[in-house]
Amino acid sequence: MTTDLAGLKTNRRTVLGGLAAGGALMLGAAPRFVQAQSSAPIKLGFQLHRTGIGAAYGRWYERTTQAALKLLNDQGGINGRPVEIVFEDDGTDPKRGAEVVEKLTTQAGCDLIFGPLFSHVVIGSAPRAGELKVPYLVCSEGYHVASGMLNRWTLQPGITDVRAQVSSMAPWVMQNLGKKVTMVFPDYAFGHDHRDFFTEAVKAQGGEVIAQIAIPPTETSFTRYLPQIPAETEVLYHVMVGPAVLTFVKELGEFYGSGARPQIFGFIDSLEAVDTAAPGLEFLEGTHFWEGHCRVKQADAPEWEGTYRAAVGVDDNGASVSDARDVSTYAHMFSCWETLFVIKKGMEASGYQSTADRQKFVEAIEAMTAFDAGLDHVQGAKTFNGKTHQVFGQQFISKVEGGKLMRVHATSIEDGVYPDAVDYTAQSF
């Protein structure tokens, strides 16, 4: 209710209301649902980071999912049946995450569960989904799916994982920005992923990481680390995150002053949901960022891009249509949208009727190989690896020009592909 504009209101009562009459009301209001074997709504569970450290992402994940659901139902639902989504808060906590999986499955009677983002929550919740034998579609970017760490019931068909994202950056960075790289990253798992995957990819491209500067996560001033950047650095790769990001950019600007500086490349995770034109970020002008999905609508954007933005309620800068300062988590939130449409495809391909068909649903997804770009895959075309349960898509490199992120390169899907580490299809259900 709260996050919807007038156009999105019709279905949300059935989604959120918890009113017994909701489903019936909606059926009356939406006659386009064809006669199906069962006309009862398909009920999907959404594991939402509504509170806790993931709340900023959770807000946009819910908003995007509501918009996708509206579109899905307007298009006739799944297998001719309307679709409901039950949103349940997991507090961005792995223990609660496992409880939410159980609640959504056994109490709310959901057909499947999707939506979690944070790695530790996914890793804490997926085993429960495996025990309950409920499909669990995550939107977490984590390499934990493709690494083989999870199980047959856990899939990631909506967003490329971080290993592919990072690796696919290396060819363009080497060819266009320079071959001698210094990496500045927070000293924990997230930073280590970048360090390991990018260093490996740089080496494969004939470049060299000449310094790795690990910064303790509790650090809020960086002046004593910056002098460690070697003078011969051609590319500075940064993935600083958290409350001190603005301080980092400010201090980096003071460190280089108006003199020469290396090329600078970062991951938008640092400034996801932050306006790059905000005061204090001037130093970022002319630097490059990875984007999973271009926040600023590009000149050659396909037609569905505008439809997607309008449905979610974001403008051409990726900010909320009702608050230009409220920048969305644009590089990530498409994953919820796309995952919902993969669910539709999977249910339709498997002839999904009831929870007894959950295994057939997983097998149907595993059999998929590619998704075409379109309104259901707004971020672009993708290939799906049924063995590793992981999707691969193109990535974008954007340059800050006039405070706006303008795309300068789109990788090919192949740039991010790496050898399989697991074959989930060989595991039992």
Binding site: T2, L19, T51, G91, P94, S147, G242, K250, A278, G313
Partner: protein, 458 residues
């Protein structure tokens, strides 16, 4: 760590935390907050010097603004509030599971716990009319013809201390205080317990032994406007903030302990999210593992902060007595002096929850506008998107920080003036007797500002 699971395929391929963190960059971290803190500490210290030396303090006089008949008897408003509570509990049990769309969660955590105290700081004790116990208790006691009590009043405010401690644990440590169902169960059970006790003891006991009534009543003592009700007449007064506090009887020992716990709860609420605390308990603030990982250590933290708060305040009072060569019983001087800390509790509550009001408050408005998700506009608002853009806006966040600064500094200056007034009432003459309390006030000012400006991990 869990992320380095047993299936890791060598270090380079080990699955790890993929998404970094969702903490928004903090504009407050880029402000010269250190200068603010030093300035505030200086102002509090100088005010103490001036107040101690000049012995001329602002007079806190109450002025009668108007006198009128009581329009709505408290029993009636309380009963209506009880009915509203039943409605909210029903929504908690049966409504949407999303806490930001469920009116029970929103009304309780944003309305009752944030907006109502803020409004009470200006308009006096609004909870008195909204208290969901007094009306039903009065009614039931009347119906069953019960008049006496069971002696609960002998316990003073200790039941409220226990209630507040349980509440703070639920708010700060429990796994899912926002979950509508959990909240409905907890509120329902608590309402019932207090109701039964009050039926046995009498409705006046609620003022004494129920923590929310006591807490909101204390915070409202800071208000510049307040209503005093005497039978069927209501008198509206105005006066400098704190005027009501000087008209209060000294706090009893259980009330003193209650105030220390309230202060400790607010302090720990801020502290537990700071990088400082996270580092102390070995949590990475950029990938906070969630409440389930820190329940034990945060329970200890809450108790430790309470012990430190009570210890430092009572210690400063004891030292002041010693330096001032007081000889009377400890609580005879601690009780009045402690009243001054009500101003600090009020100021800190307002500053601490200001951002919550501006964020969650939007969800409350939206949910009240359209409680059944039918596209209603009960408040006359067009459906709108909740917007958090101000959190990354330099001007807006600077304004918020300045407001918080003013609230904290104002609260401590007020507390200081009240403390000087109260000690003058006790007949203190030696200026040095104020030294420990002044030092504590300076420390508290800095602590409050530090908590509000520290980098936070949740």
């Amino acid at each position: 760590m869990i992320r380095r699971g047993g299936l890791a395929l060598g270090l380079a391929l080990a699955p790890a935390g993929a998404l970094a963190c969702a903490l928004p960059p903090s504009i407050i971290l880029t402000l010269p907050t250190g200068h603010y803190m030093a300035g505030a500490a200086g102002v509090v210290a100088l005010t103490a010097l001036w107040g101690g030396a000049a012995r001329r303090l602002p007079a806190f006089r109450a002025r009668l603004l108007l006198e009128r008949a009581v329009f709505l008897p408290e029993t009636l408003t309380s009963y209506l509030s009880f009915l509203a509570l039943l409605g909210l509990l029903f929504l908690g049990f049966t409504g949407t599971r999303d806490p930001m769309h469920n009116l029970l969660t929103l009304v309780f955590w944003t309305g009752i716990w944030v907006a109502l105290p803020l409004a009470s700081l200006i308009f006096g004790n609004l909870w008195r009319a909204l208290n969901p116990w007094t009306g039903p208790v009065r009614l039931v006691r009347h119906l069953i013809g019960r008049t006496g009590g069971i002696g609960l009043s002998r316990l003073g405010h200790w039941p409220a201390v226990a209630g507040l401690l349980a509440f703070l644990w639920f708010q700060l440590v429990a796994l899912s205080p926002d979950d509508p169902l959990v909240l409905a169960q907890v509120i329902g059970a608590y309402w019932l317990v207090v109701f039964l006790l009050a039926v046995l003891e009498g409705e006046d006991w609620v003022q004494e032994g129920e923590f929310m009534t006591l807490y909101l009543g204390f915070l409202a003592r800071i208000a510049p406007f307040w209503l005093e009700i005497d039978g069927r007449r209501a008198r509206l007064y105005a006066g400098l903030p704190g005027t009501q506090i000087l008209r209060l009887p000294p706090l009893t020992p259980s009330a003193v302990i209650f105030v220390t716990l309230a202060l400790a709860g607010l302090t720990f609420d801020g502290l537990m999210e700071t990088f400082f605390w996270m580092a102390l308990i070995g949590e990475n603030p950029l990938e906070f593992t969630g409440r389930s990982a820190v329940q034990g250590v945060n329970t200890l933290g809450l108790l430790a902060v309470w012990a430190l708060t009570a210890g430092s305040i009572l210690g400063a009072l004891a030292l002041g007595r010693r330096l001032g060569r007081h000889t009377g019983p400890f609580w005879a001087s601690a009780g009045p002096a402690m009243l001054a800390f009500l101003a600090i509790a009020a100021g800190y509550h307002a500053a601490h929850y200001l951002v919550t009001l501006l964020t969650s408050g939007q969800y409350v408005l939206a949910a009240m506008n359209d409680p059944f998700f039918r596209g209603d506009a009960l408040l006359g608002l067009e459906p709108f998107f909740v917007g958090f853009g101000f959190l990354t806006d330099q001007a807006a966040m600077t304004a918020i920080w300045n407001s918080q600064f003013a609230l904290i500094l104002g609260a401590h200056l007020l507390a200081l003036l009240l403390a000087l007034h109260l000690s003058a009432r006790l007949g203190d003459t030696r200026a040095i007797a104020h030294l420990p309390m002044t030092a504590l006030m300076v420390g508290y000012t800095v602590l409050g500002l530090w908590l509000l400006s520290s980098p936070r991990g949740v």
